[in-house]
């Protein structure tokens, strides 16, 4: 754990969402992010458009069959005002197209939404997320994905990411 990685998460931006679709979830989270001044008015529209054209679902069964699928929604830096990862636990898994095989679908139950207002930043937040998933103890990771409280999710990421 280092200061840079700690700075990628904030207690106030961990969400638990019960939407039925990615559109509903994006709308709810984007509204809250806009209210906190972290994204622009156009963020939601661009996030939805980007997810449709360039999906971000990731099948984690290739890492371990017991892990749930996730998605890493993000959009262009111009619609974002901070550099942060937004963890979003989904009460009901929702369908995303697979990022590397868009003709296939995954049922994602956790989102790591990437907000990156520094397009030239060397540190790569997607790489950080994948390293976290690859390197965290499997049993701990399974427990993490079952957490249902924002503060517990934040605590885990703040200490393990």
């Amino acid at each position: 754990m280092n200061s840079l990685q700690n700075a990628l998460f904030e207690k106030e931006t961990v969400f638990i969402e019960d939407g039925e679709s990615k559109e509903e979830i994006f709308k709810s989270v984007a509204k809250q992010l806009l209210g906190k001044g972290l994204v622009t008015e156009d963020f939601l529209d661009n996030l939805l458009e980007r997810e449709e054209n360039y999906p971000t679902g990731i099948d984690l069964s290739v890492i371990n069959p017991n892990l749930p699928s996730i998605a890493i929604p993000h959009t262009e830096s111009g619609f974002v005002k901070t550099r942060r990862i937004i963890p979003i636990k989904l009460i009901k898994s929702v369908e995303f197209k697979n990022m590397i095989q868009p003709d296939q679908k995954v049922e994602a139950s956790f989102l790591f939404m990437i907000l990156n207002d520094s397009p030239n930043e060397q540190a790569n937040m997607l790489a950080d997320i994948m390293d976290f998933l690859n390197q965290t103890d499997l049993e701990e990771l399974k427990s993490f994905f079952e957490l249902n409280e924002e503060k517990e999710i934040y605590k885990f990421l703040a200490t393990k990411f």
Binding site: R50, N53, Y54, I58, V62, I63, I72, H74, T75, E76, S77, M99, I100, Q101, P102, I114, N116, P119, N124, M125, L126, A127, M130, D131, N134
Partner: protein
């Protein structure tokens, strides 16, 4: 020097990871490569004609014919060596086929 164009939807995360991985791994394998990372929507025929290989995350329609070799690089994003290796192998085969 082999010029590679990596691309993703937003041009800020996925394509940068592919760029970094390709430059690092291919240089370890003895190839001189330079990779640029851009947004798919910014690619036009004139731009892509300046590159030797197109490296999208997955099969991507650009709205025009692509005359250079295409190597899908999505599996690199998992950062698992066993998943990335087939991509690096395909990239090596493609570089050799360029006869540069």
């Amino acid at each position: 020097m082999v010029n590679i164009l990596a691309a993703c939807g937003a041009g800020v995360n996925s394509s940068h990871q592919i760029k970094n991985a390709l430059e690092t791994e291919l240089s370890k394998r003895g190839y001189q490569v330079k990779c640029d990372a851009v947004m798919v929507k910014d690619i036009n025929k004139n731009m892509i004609d300046h590159y030797d290989i197109f490296a999208p995350i997955s099969s991507t329609s650009l709205g025009f014919d692509i005359d250079i070799p295409v190597v899908d690089c999505g599996p690199i994003l998992y950062r698992i060596p066993a998943m990335a290796e087939p991509v690096y192998k395909k990239m090596e085969e493609t570089i050799k086929s360029l006869n540069k």
